[in-house]
């Protein structure tokens, strides 16, 4: 069969943080590059650009995804949430607030991805999803407690070259309601910590 000519660009409408943006994209454009280079939304960061670091994490249809491996043209019709859309107006998302309160970063470059990932992690855990460190994955075993080990495993797709992992785990636990409701996370560096804010 003859090959029909196939355009290499398309007009797409992307639904980002509740607003529709219509633009023409070369099909090679990733969602990450569309956000940063075309829509002036620089909160989402480019790290490795090959799906290995998590800096570009956004939510697509409420689930976390790496925007560097998501073609923009293939994201049409889906609900995209970036770090710019996580807060409710001036009210920070609990994950954002916890990262601020517990210093869940140093340089901050990986932080938007960390926060988007943590927002989704909390939802995944609430839905009862097991992880690779969950002892018994059978549904009868019930949802695993969100221990520090569970948080580390579930956040392993987000690298932090500053090594702020200790505070990141604390912040995710705080945001998930673990730290405030059940005391320090077992096995976390938050045990016995005198760090300001960590005891709340």
């Amino acid at each position: 069969m003859a090959t029909a000519p196939s355009p290499t660009y398309s007009a797409v409408t992307l639904n980002i943080n509740g607003e529709k943006h219509t633009l023409t994209v070369d099909h090679r454009t990733t969602l990450l590059d569309a956000l940063r280079e075309r829509l002036d939304m620089n909160g989402t960061k480019k790290g490795c650009d090959q799906g290995q670091c998590g800096a570009c994490t956004v939510l697509i249809d409420k689930r976390r995804a790496v925007s560097c491996l998501q073609l923009a043209v293939a994201a049409e019709g889906r609900e995209i949430t970036t770090i710019e859309g996580v807060a409710e107006g001036e009210q920070l998302h609990p994950v954002q607030q916890a990262f601020l309160d517990l210093d869940g970063y140093q340089c901050g470059y990986c932080t938007p991805g960390q926060i988007c990932s943590a927002v989704a992690l909390i939802e995944e855990h609430a839905a009862g999803w097991p992880s690779a460190v969950t002892d018994d994955v059978r549904p009868e075993a019930g949802p695993p407690p969100l221990t520090a080990d569970e948080i580390r495993e579930r956040m392993s797709g987000n690298l932090c070259r500053c090594g702020a992992y200790v505070s990141i785990v604390q912040a995710v636990a705080r945001a998930a309601g673990i730290a405030s409701e059940a005391g320090p996370v077992p096995g976390s560096a938050q045990d016995g910590s005198t760090r300001e804010g960590a005891a709340a």
């Binding site: 069969m1 090959t3 029909a4 196939s6 355009p7 290499t8 398309s10 070369d26 099909h27 090679r28 990733t30 650009d49 090959q50 799906g51 998590g54 994490t57 697509i60 689930r63 976390r64 995804a65 790496v66 491996l69 998501q70 073609l71 043209v73 293939a74 990932s117 989704a120 992690l121 995944e124 839905a127 009862g128 999803w129 097991p130 992880s131 690779a132 969950t134 994955v137 059978r138 549904p139 009868e140 580390r152 495993e153 579930r154 392993s156 797709g157 987000n158």
Partner: protein, 330 residues
């Protein structure tokens, strides 16, 4: 990256027609491997046919006591599915051992089976690779091969298949289902990946132009007592250097049924049938597990820097089967 056309398919027949119309077209699922390879120039399709929205996103019981998994089910949804966790827990464990939360949300079952090796020479378009450019040579054999194959490789290619999911699916006898313009077909996962031989660029038994529509897991009561264990060079978010999917049914101290498959040791998920046969009907103890592992691994042909995998796999067989045997008698 080469420029390409993009079409979004809404049904299987439409997807097949779009692919058939362009010999340079490829199906796009989650894109976690294909888009990455397009960036580096390993893959250079002229058109992508996006199949992610096809109505193949269900996990459903079969009448015969198994499960049918649609090709566009995401890794996350497969791992979280209650019936997978209940009937085939090693499959959930295998999927969760792979990649990251972000990638599992994007990746699909069909795409997982068709992902390419992570051999560094395959990924480097500036050098030779028999899988990427047939006849150009295999630098891994005398180069960096500490995580390459010890079973079923050839003098033409020693790359491994990187899937975790596929190892558990292989242990449980999964069957791949596909559609072509000429009709539907099925092939057991154990026969899905072709022997390496002198054609490492020919990877699967899928006919040209075929679309994977799903995977069927036959009923396997033994799978309810199963485990996936993965060894890697960091605690999470890394490919295996060796992995095992195992299921065990012990009755009165005797192995009634056993399933074993190895990952990261061959060009395909490796069903350890020699070991399964050696174990069936015999004692369920560490000595028998070790002997069965040795029987399977007698075919291993390690290279100078990956001989540790033979020991690693032997130890994994003994450890995981011992755990399953102990738990079965509780």
């Amino acid at each position: 990256m080469r420029e390409f056309g993009y079409e979004r398919a809404v049904d299987v027949s439409g997807a097949l027609a779009l692919l058939d119309a362009d010999p340079d077209a490829r199906f796009l699922g989650g894109g976690t491997n294909l888009v990455d390879l397009m960036k580096t120039g390993v893959e250079r399709p002229g058109r992508l046919v996006d199949v992610r929205e096809l109505p193949l996103d269900r996990v459903e019981p079969t009448g015969a006591g198994g499960l049918r998994i649609g090709a566009t089910v995401t890794n996350s949804d497969l791992a979280a599915h209650p019936e997978v966790r209940r009937r085939y827990p090693a499959l959930t464990q295998a999927v969760l051992a792979g990649a990251s939360g972000q990638l599992r949300n994007m990746a699909t079952v069909g795409g997982n089976l068709l992902q390419r090796t992570r051999c560094g020479y395959f990924a480097d378009v500036s050098g030779p690779c028999n899988k990427r450019v047939p006849g150009s040579g295999c630098p891994a054999i005398e180069g960096e091969h500490h995580n390459h194959a010890v079973l079923g490789a050839s003098g033409h290619c020693v790359a491994t298949h990187p899937s975790d999911m596929g190892v558990a699916l292989t242990a449980f006898g999964a069957v791949v289902e596909y559609e072509t313009a000429d009709g539907a077909g099925r092939v057991p996962l154990g026969e899905f990946y072709l022997p390496v031989g002198d054609t490492p660029h020919l990877e699967t038994a899928l006919p040209a132009g075929a679309l994977i529509t799903g995977v069927t897991l036959p009923a396997a009561p033994v799978a309810a007592n199963s485990r996936y264990r993965k060894v890697r060079e960091r605690a999470s978010y890394a490919f295996a250097i060796g992995s095992i999917a195992a299921a065990l049914d012990v009755r009165d101290g005797v192995v009634h049924e056993v399933r074993l498959a190895f990952g990261a040791v061959a060009s395909r998920p490796w069903r350890a049938q020699v070991a399964e046969r050696a174990l069936t009907g015999g004692p369920a103890d560490a000595g028998a597990f070790a002997a069965a592992a040795d029987a399977e691994l007698a075919a291993a042909r390690p290279l100078p820097h990956n001989g540790y995998k033979v020991t690693l796999m032997r130890n994994l067989v003994v450890a995981v089967l011992s755990e399953l045997a102990e738990e079965a008698t509780r």
